[in-house]
Symmetry: C2
Subunit: 552 residues, 2 copies
């Protein structure tokens, strides 16, 4: 400041006017403002916010009594059940850092992650006890193991292990939480499912998690008392921050152990679900089941779709079953969604198809993220807003990770030029909206022409028989690369590959059309994201070259 009248010590921060930002604070607020409202529901288990806050304090106290210290990592390898929701409060309330572990990983991967973040305690679902046990057996300093049974799902406790229920009972539900001392301190570490090399530990801060949660309320318009169905894995970017969002808004966590279409349709009705999130595959599964049952949800259910660009045809079909999709875009490094395709009032006048195309874009930075840009691949400036020039999506702002744990080189590379570079390729459209073209490694270069695999996939998805599709590059002597499609058909459908290629030719330039269509079940991550790297590997290995239609 050029002017020094503000520098007086008496205008500095103190306990009365400066409190570190942390989403953990939303729990106390929920107990006070929405105390009698339902917080967590799982089958016959139902807790109000007052009861749930008590459980979280008890859980945190048990951690402290188990000698978990500030900055220690507590890992959770759990399905979307009540202990997993509670861990998002209890672990930071004990001053510790939460590491959620993908429930589909094998023992080697689990051991790598637990060792890398130096986990001191692991809470694992009893169904995953064998994997966890095998992981711990190969570690030099394994974490203490606590196993959560799930009697409701018929999953009992193995012999001679410490049960979560007993562990919880060792805590004091009246013990106050440890205060957050610094908003720029870690609240969680989430490992990316990186397609190459070892997974990286993405560190979230209390400040970032707080602002990301508030931003989601603003951008998605989550109302007070929302009823949220847990279709999105909580181990994925802390469930896009939704445990904290629901505390802030006094909403209800409707737990879900397995993503099962019939259960989802039932719970939407029984629990008056207003909101859920998921990758395209989750929405497609719901669409199929709702159509089969002839269900149209009323009132409309709001859903966020992310993880992969949704096809315009899926966007349209979801409207038909009473689901209003909002397309969001982000990465583990941006706390999940950091961009949202905000609908403009003028789009209401568009036709369904045109509106679906507008809504399928990645959009604009979410409310509290400072900025999102499409940067030149070889420079630090933005591409022009011409809808044509391809650049790399970059973010800047408080909804960006602290960095990668114990990997300063990767952190420096990710934060070059004062932006976080996403690795995703996109154009900036004249209206300022970002439209993704592809991940750098998913672009297909054929005869010197760039082919966006997403563009080809969108055409395939618009075919009524296609349930899922991935288009990848196959090495080719003549063209360098050619596009090949791997397709899952909807139940009961049959079509020849030549017919699907002909369909593509009516919608795309010929050079963009798949040279080959293979009918196979697609490999997917736990979050429903299609693993194109595995599709590519299969192709290189020469697998699945027969064009045999397969059922899902």
């Amino acid at each position: 400041m050029d002017n020094d009248q503000w520098n007086a010590e008496d205008l500095g921060p103190c306990a009365a006017n400066h409190v570190p930002l942390s989403p953990v604070a939303f729990l106390d607020r929920a107990a006070r403002v929405s105390g009698s409202r339902e917080a967590v529901v799982y089958g016959a288990q139902r807790q109000s916010w007052i009861e749930f806050a008590h459980t979280c304090r008890q859980f945190a106290s048990a951690l402290v009594r188990a000698e978990i210290r500030r900055g220690d990592v507590v890992a959770a390898m759990l399905f979307n059940t009540p202990p997993m929701v509670a861990a998002h409060f209890a672990v930071p309330m004990a001053g510790a850092v939460l590491n959620t572990v993908n429930t589909r990983l094998d023992a080697d991967a689990v051991a790598y992650i637990l060792a890398h973040c130096k986990a001191r305690l692991l809470i694992v679902d009893a169904e995953l006890f064998a994997v966890a046990g095998a992981a711990l057996a190969q570690m030099a300093s394994p974490p203490r193991l606590v196993v959560a049974a799930d009697p409701q799902a018929g999953v009992g406790l193995p012999a001679q292990v410490e049960g979560f229920h007993d562990f919880l009972d060792s805590g004091d539900g009246e013990a106050p939480a440890l205060p957050v001392l610094d908003e720029w301190s870690p609240i969680s570490v989430n490992y990316t499912s990186g397609t190459t090399g070892r997974p990286k530990g993405v560190v979230y801060s209390h400040r970032g998690a707080y602002l990301a949660s508030v931003s989601t309320v603003l951008s998605w318009g989550v109302p007070k008392g929302a009823s949220y169905l847990w279709t999105l894995p909580l181990f994925h970017c802390n469930g896009w921050g939704m445990p904290w969002v629901l505390a802030l808004q006094g909403g209800k966590n409707v737990c879900l152990r397995r993503v099962d279409a019939a259960t989802i349709v039932r719970l939407i009705g029984e629990e008056s679900v207003t909101h859920y999130c998921g990758a395209p595959i989750v929405h497609a599964m719901l669409r199929d089941e709702a159509e089969r049952q002839g269900r149209v949800f009323s009132p409309t259910v709001a859903a966020m779709i992310g993880g992969a660009p949704p096809s315009p045809s899926l966007m349209r079909a979801m409207e038909g079953i009473g689901v209003q999709l909002t397309h969001c875009y982000g990465l583990t490094e941006t706390y999940g969604p950091a961009a949202i395709c905000e609908a403009q009032p003028a789009w209401a006048a568009l036709g369904d198809a045109e509106r679906a195309v507008m809504n399928a874009r990645q959009g604009l930075p979410c409310a509290l993220q400072a900025d999102m840009a499409v940067m030149r691949i070889d420079g630090a400036e933005s591409v022009p807003a011409d809808g044509v020039t391809v650049g790399e999506i970059a973010f800047r702002g408080n909804i960006t990770m602290m960095g990668y744990l114990d990997d300063p080189a990767a952190t420096r590379k990710a934060f070059a030029d004062g932006w976080f570079r996403s690795g995703d390729l996109a154009v900036l459209e004249p209206d300022g909206y970002v439209r993704i073209k592809d991940r750098s490694k998913d672009i297909i270069i054929s005869g010197g022409e760039n082919i966006s695999s997403v563009e080809v996939e969108n055409v395939l998805y618009s075919h009524p028989m296609v349930a899922a599709a991935a288009v990848v590059a196959k090495p080719d002597e003549q063209w360098g690369e050619v596009p090949v499609a791997v397709v899952e058909l909807r139940d009961g459908s049959e079509i020849a590959s030549a017919q699907l290629i002909a369909f593509c030719r009516t919608h795309l330039a010929h050079f963009k059309c798949p040279r080959q269509v293979l009918f196979q079940t697609l490999p997917k991550t736990a979050t429903g994201k299609i693993q194109k790297n595995l599709v590519r590997d299969r192709l290189r290995a020469g697998a699945g070259t027969d064009a045999v239609p397969m059922k899902n």
Copy 2:
């Protein structure tokens, strides 16, 4: 942290992952997300968010070219017109600190404030030029004066002054704003209208203003594209942060030079107003006019009421004209509203009268304020939640001022024990809601019994002929103090003081009833708050002891 794996330098804040919180950022966002939506409307003047952002950049650039430096104060003594809204962005965009000056102050008070905060530039409405000129004439280092004409209101520019229009033209609408370097730096300084002694300069930070704005969106539920009518003076706590809230949500500022009931009713219709704020007197004025015209607003208009506890009868009457009141409570020191009476679902089952009583309470801390308590008057702990024990309302959190400018003693006193003490007396009810009893100095102690002047006023307000009422203590030989009421009657009403006292006796213990009722126009602040200190002064001076009904 006990665990040192997080302390690595590579997890520190950098340009990519840490941006200072400032509500000025909402302007760029509005131009990007809601660019074509209307931002500021004033009669025939209408600007979109893209146009308004251009004006603000030009205004900021003009300030920089006028040699305003970081930390300098720019004062604005303006009605709720477009330049006043723009100043809330342009002044901090120039790195300067905004001081809004109450338009009703006299030259001495204006001179005191401008000298105290060392204002370098004053923008004044041409109608207030005489007062401003007189103020500047008595200052040793007067600020540069810029005068804003308002041709639409028939207010022209005096001779030989610098006009705001020309000043604005000296700036460059393409010049980027100066970046905010530190979120803990001042964005504005607001002088309290302190009833005793000199006004104090309450300093707001960028961080606090940002969080207060977001908190208002969450707590009041301000939707995207809200249409907000400026009935609340912008010089009062920066209009409760609403200029920033509207930018965040792409809403519309409907300007209003004068609080005039007929104009308000007209604009609510013409501009599809969805929200407004004000002291009880503003709502009462609107009620009278709407009832006179037989208007019931549809869809319902949302209004925040603060500045004084609303009577249950006013809360009920507003429902009748289609206005949904939300009661908020706060002080200049808490950026305006920091508590809000959140309605509970169960209240819907109550009768109108009971619900109005629930809604008239001060309530709970707003969404992003850390805490609100009722502290023992002689201690640092909370009173029990018994609805009876009187304590002092205190706040703690980011929505609390940086401190008082150049007054370390007052700042230390306000922030004793890690809380900001409000000076307002209240009880904590069993449901955790705060109910105000009185300001410390407004409590009446009669024969050793405490009488809440608010309680007596609420009874008076429930009488259909009463427009406004103040109950104050009058010194009494026998009782120490006795309650005396000063009342304004509604247009065309007449009633004898004995009848009003009899009415009180049917609703209150006899010792609480006014011994005397005087019919007089009540002295009010610019924000419509009744100045009880002046009422008391009048009584002591023996003025107005005749019980003569007076028209408003």
